[in-house]
């Protein structure tokens, strides 16, 4: 009898180990399949596999990150096709939000931040007067190198018409071109503000700077020329 007890007791760890191994292998399998599907752009299959992995282990960080990325990719694909994306980005942001509860390492912040930017933009597409500044602020807080969010925030502040906001917008665009000189939109948008204020010299300066970075940018080519012509006309008329 004691021998039998010992055998049973001895078998328990082995059984548990095997069960654990099987479950983990199964889980890794789903996450692995999801990842493979995500890589090749089969997003529906990716979602299905990551979801199965999460059914086994809801706190599986990789599966949850994979699911968030899959939703992200689906939404981004729809962006390419110009299909309304508000709901899709909402879903992706929601998944990132849940993920942030189990991964505080910061490794997901850049993608989460981009996702918030996209949601802000989709919200504006749906309702041009939507207040998306909180989304953009959160996005910037998550990733201070997300100049897309800075840029959109600058655009919105510049559009508000309030002097204080416009000054803040200028600071934002200057921050972008200083830290990421290849971000051409910021030159365009900063030049726009100067132009609207009637400061043609500054507009020309900033558009020219942008043109140096991107000589083939049609917008910059056009508006730098317009500003240049305006300045010449002012010199000829004696205004300058």
């Amino acid at each position: 009898m004691p021998g039998r007890v010992c055998k049973i007791v001895g078998a328990v760890p082995a059984v548990l180990v095997v069960v654990t191994l099987c479950l983990t292998a199964c889980l890794d399998d789903f996450a692995g399949r999801g990842n493979a599907a995500l890589r090749v752009g089969d997003y529906d299959r990716a979602v299905a596999n990551f979801s199965k992995a999460l059914d086994y282990d809801p706190a599986n960080r990789d599966a949850r990150y994979g699911l968030a990325l899959s939703y992200y990719a689906i939404a981004e694909e729809s962006e390419h096709l110009r299909i309304p994306t508000f709901d899709l980005w909402n879903r992706a942001v929601r998944e990132f939000k849940i993920l942030s509860n189990i991964d505080s390492s910061g490794s997901i912040n850049a993608n989460y931040s981009t996702c918030l930017f996209y949601l802000a933009r989709a919200s504006l597409s749906q309702n041009s007067s939507a207040n998306v500044l909180p989304l953009l602020n959160q996005s910037i807080l998550l990733d201070s190198a997300n100049y897309f969010s800075y840029n959109l925030k600058g655009l919105l502040l510049g559009r508000s018409g309030l002097k204080m906001d416009v000054e803040e917008a200028k600071k934002i665009f200057i921050h972008i071109v200083t830290h990421e000189p290849a971000f051409i939109s910021a030159y365009v948008n900063l030049g726009n503000i100067y132009w609207d204020e009637g400061d043609i010299e500054s507009a020309w300066d900033i558009w020219s700077m942008g043109l140096e970075k991107s000589p083939n940018d049609r917008t910059l080519v056009h508006w730098t020329q317009v500003a240049e012509d305006s300045l010449k006309a002012k010199v000829l008329s004696g205004e300058l």
Binding site: V9, V12, P13, L16, V17, T20, L21, T24, D28, A31, G32, N35, R39, P58, A59, D62, Y65, L69, A73, E76, E77, E79, H80, L81, R82, R94, K97, I98, N101, I102, S107, I108, A110, N111, T114, F117, R121, L124, P134, N146, F148, N151, L152, L155, G158, R159, E180, A182, F183, I184, S185, V188, N189, N192, W195, D196, R218, W223, V226, S230
Partner: protein, 379 residues
């Protein structure tokens, strides 16, 4: 009905038990000018969710509003001084699911408190049943969201706040903010609640493990925020986070079920028995810490061999887990994440995009992220 018995005499209403031949009902008779929200009652009277009490009839008689609902054969969660974290999370998940279902009908509770959640034992498990919908006014002040003190009607976000306070009460055995001061003071205290404070106080009790505290953190962050916008978006999101928390503290589904069974067979059975004998709960509620310690001591004395076997199994599983974690460290999802980010944030023209030919011309000449709403200008 064969007769009725006064079960509870309150300031707002009296509760009577109505005994019938086939079933027992409960009559809630409002007094002192109190009443209920008829619209809410109309909606829930047609709902037949398992986690919701079944309202049979409501109306006004002799100038007093009344509600008749089916008797729920369980005990209110207020009878427990505190619950194991796993059990509290399981209970909260059930409550959240009921609220999610009702949310789709535009129904919100508005008065979530331990007294309004009934635990019904069912074999080795329990189910929760929510009662007392349709409150007019603020309800239990210790559980009311800050915006409710400013007169806002209940909504999903205020119920989420209340759930946070409820969870805290279930786990700690005490209200985070006791309703023992003036309305204004209480409102100010409630507006100053921060998630971290709940963790700190729970840590101070010394009865909650670090692992449990860490698993609860995301819940406090999503529930007890002053600003409703900072709370979970809805009950589904809460459900997801609850699932994660349960997974962290539960030690697997079997362990969770065992914890629930222990609770049902122990504390819950005890309370059911005491309720039937009409014994006040306060004296009966066990102290969690001393109870656990006592159980542990008995277990150690009784099963020394078993304990060492479990320790052995635990060590083996730990080693296996470490090996697996190291082995499966790189699932590649981070790599894909980096690629996604790189693609999204590329400042180069997106020449390789899979775009149908007819759409391609309308796209900006660079990455989509760069294609921002540019100001219309009139030179």
């Amino acid at each position: 009905m064969t007769g009725d018995v006064l079960l509870h005499e309150g300031g707002e209403a009296d509760i009577y038990g109505l005994r019938g031949l086939k079933e027992n009902l409960v009559l809630k008779k409002y007094k002192n000018g109190s009443c209920f929200d008829r619209i809410v009652l109309e909606k829930i009277s047609i709902c037949k969710y398992e986690g919701l009490y079944h309202v049979r009839e409501f109306g006004t008689r002799d100038g007093s509003p009344f509600i008749v609902y089916e008797h729920v054969d369980g005990v209110t969660s207020s009878r427990f001084e505190c619950m194991p974290v796993v059990v509290a999370l399981r209970a909260l998940r059930q409550v959240a699911r009921t609220l999610a279902a009702l949310d789709s009908f535009g129904v919100h509770h508005g008065d979530l408190s331990p007294a309004n959640v009934i635990l019904v034992p069912e074999a080795d498990a329990f189910r929760t049943v929510l009662i007392d919908f349709g409150i007019v006014g603020l309800g239990a002040l210790s559980y009311a969201a800050p915006e409710r003190f400013r007169g806002k009607n209940p909504d999903a976000r205020s119920d989420l706040f209340a759930l946070g306070m409820l969870l805290y009460r279930w786990i700690s055995g005490a209200d985070f903010i006791a309703a023992d001061c003036s309305f204004d003071e209480l409102a100010a205290q409630m507006a100053a609640v921060e998630p971290q404070k709940l963790t700190e106080r729970l840590y101070g009790t010394g009865t909650i493990s670090v692992q449990e505290l860490s698993a609860l953190d995301p819940l406090w962050n999503g529930l007890v925020q002053k600003n409703p916008e900072d709370r979970f978006e809805d009950f589904d999101e809460l459900d997801e986070v609850l699932e994660i928390a349960l997974n962290k503290v539960g030690g697997g589904e079997i362990a969770v079920l065992k914890a629930e069974r222990d609770f049902v067979c122990g504390a819950l059975a005890e309370q059911v028995e005491k309720m039937r004998q009409n014994v006040p709960a306060v004296d009966a509620a066990p102290k969690k810490t001393s109870n656990l310690r006592a159980e542990g001591e008995v277990a150690q004395k009784k099963f020394p061999v078993k304990t060492s076997v479990f320790i052995g199994i635990g060590l083996i599983l730990l080693i296996v887990a470490v090996v697996l974690v190291l082995g499966a460290k790189n699932s590649g999802v981070d790599e894909v994440g980096a690629l996604v980010l790189q693609k999204s944030r590329s400042l180069e023209p997106a020449s390789g995009m899979d775009v149908p030919a007819d759409v391609e011309e309308t796209l900006a000449d660079s990455s989509l992220l760069k294609d921002l709403p540019t100001l219309e200008r009139n030179p």
